[in-house]
Symmetry: D2
Subunit: 380 residues, 4 copies
Amino acid sequence: MGMVGGGTDAFIGAIHRLAAFMDGQIELVCGCFSVNPEVSISSGKSYYLPENRVYKTYQEMFENEARLPEGERMDFVTIVTPNFAHFDPAMMALENGFHVVIDKPITFTLDEALKLKAKIQQTGLLLALTHTYSGYPAVKEARERVRRGDLGKIRKIFVEYPQGWLSSKLEDAGNAQASWRTDPKRSGKAGCMGDIGTHAHHLAEYITGLKTKEVCAELNVFVPGRLLDDDGAVLLRFDNGARGVLMATQIAAGEENAIRIRVYGDKGGIDWFQHEPNTLYVKWSDKPTEIVRTGQGYMSDIAKHNTRTPGGHPEGYLEAFANIYRNFSLTLRAKMNNTQPKPEWLDFPTVEDGIRGMQFIDVVVESGYNNDKKWYKWPE
Amino acid sequence: MGMVGGGTDAFIGAIHRLAAFMDGQIELVCGCFSVNPEVSISSGKSYYLPENRVYKTYQEMFENEARLPEGERMDFVTIVTPNFAHFDPAMMALENGFHVVIDKPITFTLDEALKLKAKIQQTGLLLALTHTYSGYPAVKEARERVRRGDLGKIRKIFVEYPQGWLSSKLEDAGNAQASWRTDPKRSGKAGCMGDIGTHAHHLAEYITGLKTKEVCAELNVFVPGRLLDDDGAVLLRFDNGARGVLMATQIAAGEENAIRIRVYGDKGGIDWFQHEPNTLYVKWSDKPTEIVRTGQGYMSDIAKHNTRTPGGHPEGYLEAFANIYRNFSLTLRAKMNNTQPKPEWLDFPTVEDGIRGMQFIDVVVESGYNNDKKWYKWPE
Amino acid sequence: MGMVGGGTDAFIGAIHRLAAFMDGQIELVCGCFSVNPEVSISSGKSYYLPENRVYKTYQEMFENEARLPEGERMDFVTIVTPNFAHFDPAMMALENGFHVVIDKPITFTLDEALKLKAKIQQTGLLLALTHTYSGYPAVKEARERVRRGDLGKIRKIFVEYPQGWLSSKLEDAGNAQASWRTDPKRSGKAGCMGDIGTHAHHLAEYITGLKTKEVCAELNVFVPGRLLDDDGAVLLRFDNGARGVLMATQIAAGEENAIRIRVYGDKGGIDWFQHEPNTLYVKWSDKPTEIVRTGQGYMSDIAKHNTRTPGGHPEGYLEAFANIYRNFSLTLRAKMNNTQPKPEWLDFPTVEDGIRGMQFIDVVVESGYNNDKKWYKWPE
Amino acid sequence: MGMVGGGTDAFIGAIHRLAAFMDGQIELVCGCFSVNPEVSISSGKSYYLPENRVYKTYQEMFENEARLPEGERMDFVTIVTPNFAHFDPAMMALENGFHVVIDKPITFTLDEALKLKAKIQQTGLLLALTHTYSGYPAVKEARERVRRGDLGKIRKIFVEYPQGWLSSKLEDAGNAQASWRTDPKRSGKAGCMGDIGTHAHHLAEYITGLKTKEVCAELNVFVPGRLLDDDGAVLLRFDNGARGVLMATQIAAGEENAIRIRVYGDKGGIDWFQHEPNTLYVKWSDKPTEIVRTGQGYMSDIAKHNTRTPGGHPEGYLEAFANIYRNFSLTLRAKMNNTQPKPEWLDFPTVEDGIRGMQFIDVVVESGYNNDKKWYKWPE
């Protein structure tokens, strides 16, 4: 694995490394960890990399690595830069024959995402998108239970992602995370909705297998002077007739990363909440709610495949993240060995999820600031 | 206390009696418990009433009772019939000089509610509306904390009331509750939104003291053949600029009466959930969430006034209900004694709350089925 | 209903009245509310009693009431005085032909309890003991599930009752509750174990139907200068070979009335906690834990009989208390009507439970301060 | 890192590798993964080790590795065999100059543990013992809060570790974990108490800094034919006068790994539960309970040092485990670099904790089956 971004001063890069390393299947072999060459070099050193594999630009990295013999050069690159700097390194990686892992949202614009898709179709390379919450085993159990019809026909989806960290104007207080995430030039046209709304929306479609057809959104900017939305709500209409409500906010003072989803069918419902991620509540009209727990023998195969510890030894965010890396690397290894990946290995978000995320941003921003037109069709 | 409706075969009437009796301040002295005279008589008997105080029609009741000497005749009447049968007995009670307790929604139409208000203004009689959830001490604590500014300026309100009991077509299965509540002739123009959406909306305005200015709603009918909405969501805009999301549904399979409200200001937030009603979570940006509990010495005076048991001995729905009756009866007693009621006694829902509930139904139904116009102004 | 104790300055008397009145079946007709005649008189007035039914001594009350005609005189008396003042009025009530409700522990000494039992056997009168926690419908559901064998053979019981209110020396700070409860002359030989340990022990035997055979206890006095135990733990051996651990403490700073019980058999377990009293967790070795909820159609008949509200409208401590009064009054009414009470009406604690409570106090106090002998046999 | 035990068919070895790899600081370089050489070789292959670093016996491993040049040879060995096979490889590792990580209980007998201690004192090598639960950041926060006096003088400790997996005789059903853990020849003189009771006891002493002085235990064997205790309870007396209750059981049907600890001082209490390990409840006599959460700015430095993710992105068992490895490796690196380790790096369990664990087993087994003598002094 090579890395673009993720210097010692960065946040999400460290998470990616923890997740990638955990299973002992992935090694960091090179990187360009910062636009600041000194930071890149010192970061590489602290990651125990040899000097000649720490690069000053990602262009240099892709060119040099491409020249190294197979087995020595990196197999894939992980891109953990702010949104505006996703597309160029991703495209260049693909052009140089490297598989890609990329943080969400996949690109700065929908158009860029479509270009990546075309390049992937052309090259046959893999791309994994780190929609982390879909990596939790209890989320996969939820999806499996919807898929096999336990809940009946899906009618209603409530998905919410309240955070409170942007309740005040942190971007003026020297907070680097706040700074780029609220800056349209680095984050894109959406703030809260791009940063966490996309996660909520992905989770809803991932679990139910439904596709959004229409949205009615309201976006708000609560903190004076902020340049992007820090709050919003979206009414959703799905292709099977189900209805949804999506809430995402970064000004819910006191909330952490409280993503939660509830799905109801005509027979029952499920309820999953990140703060206790190993539990899935399964509800029924006529019998007691069940507390379904990861690590238990009654879980589905797909949940078990994504579980590392026995019941009651909690797994968390890093393990969910690691599941994306593990499934990606298992698929990649199969591909490199010219063998058939198992179906459960293919269960990681791809460029298609990235495109839906960009479409979500587009349509929600368009709807969210319009006070007249009620329903917007999903972009085709 | 006299009663209209509430025979031994009814649901909410029994709740009203439990709530009214609990504090030893209110006695049932007469009633017309059913449109079926036999049911009324047998009900009255089982409530230990003398035969001459059990009436076959409410008209008869008001006339007879009005002729009895003060001290012997009932002081007020409780009306616990289905919605369509609220207005007539309420108006007649007022015309005969009786104070009124009435279940929500206050009337069948907004126009009727306005007429009751006019009559109340003319007569000076009291009317209490049983928006039960505002009777919980932890809800009153929430309101007090908003009022005194603990949370800062209110920005966001999430209020939800998911039920699951109407997931299938119970109204065709002989369920009396389902039958009238889904029947436009008895329930009114709204189903779910009238039955429980009004509760959620009242709770939001009660706690925050804000008034809704605009709504954007979607109403749904999920169960085929049902005549009224069984699900809906409403985006709310409040008079101070705050935004809200209201969800109410009766097809969330497996849910009971899971009303919950979260309110966030620029300093902190509160979270209250009926399933553990004695707890109020108070959240802060920079310090730990607090578990605020009824019965504790640190609670506000208004919460203490509405609490009967020490901390950890849970109070519930009946005590919340009883708080409305107790405050109403304390106010009524003061009025009858020509003394000044204490401010905390006046804390029960009145005709004004009833009118806002009817306005909510009107505007939500209008918005909820319109696919074009996004925002509707609150009816003036 | 008449009352001994329970003036307007008392705590538990108010709870008894709330619980007794709730169902509209019991009326307060007379009382001697305090050893202070003035307090008794003013209390009686505030309870709307006629002057001639408010007595200065309980002796006077029993004598006068006994002379009144049936139908007018009280049917039973509730005794809500401190422990040392239970026996005399209870015995006098029985001697005058009145049924009795009494707070726990039943008497000051085991010997007194045995005398009450003899008198009850002789007179055929009823006595109900308010071990409130056994009144919760979810507790009754737990008992039913054990009884019908769902959990298999019972192996292990954990029961705990942590409180924190006596963490400091409140008895020196003018707290009336603390004052008598920590005073051996008014409370008896046990403090914490008599006050709340007996509740925990009763709950364990009530739910499982097992009888304690041996105990190994340690009692502690943590607050310097306190005269009775404020903390303790008891290892329990039951008659079927099951083992138990009972913890009761009043110095667990920050705890309210956190009584909880867990029972495990060879097939499954149950977990009940007063802070969310409408929920019973039912656990299984090989399938998900179930969240069993009062008010649901799947509950047992005995739980339903003791439930007043639909699922999700929480009931609490007062309703549990009221269940004891209701079952007692239903049984009493049947007895007065010479009809057969239904089996579920007989489900209230009696003098037998009172005797076991006194035996518990005796054996736990004996064991709890002995550092040598490990196991004590249950007193026969 | 080298490894003894932990073949692909083993449980805890996989956990150790996940925990060791996560932070990118530790690499597996060699191992003897099984007493079965074929399993060892195939395991080594699947861990991507070169053939010449996969050994058939641990003796061979220590000898070969010791001959390799520094920088190439392993720095430390992790021993993840069943209890009976801890001492020999650990002693041989120390004799060959290798640092050691070892699973608990440290050895088969107390005597062995004392010998390891002597060898460590002689060699100056490091030994880390994986009492995982002490690795959780919220547990470290609890310890810090006790240490700095927030709770006042500690009075009461409740620690419990209920499991249900041994409710039936799994050891006869081909379950390898059950087989060795219930076998006195491989597990030692204690079953449940050695396996999980030691964890509970360690947690109590770790958080409070107190030392147990006396115990009164009861051990039980509930499953017929089982050779070791599968359940037990221990009353504890600590050196400052505090009292404790420890419960550990493996026959609590339906429980997972529900280790929980509550500690009360004269000012407040703490409550931590593995099932939601990122939360620490801090309780107070006179103000609301606080929900203290890992990843928050208000946490202590020691908690922050042991936290990898922001608040609300849950960490779990593997991260707690990894904290032991990380602190051990940071200390080891400092030692190898002849620099001073930071105080927070030294926060991992050592041979001293191992000795106390063996003493706990000794005294609890002696007390647990004795029906006469109540209190046993802690072994000196």
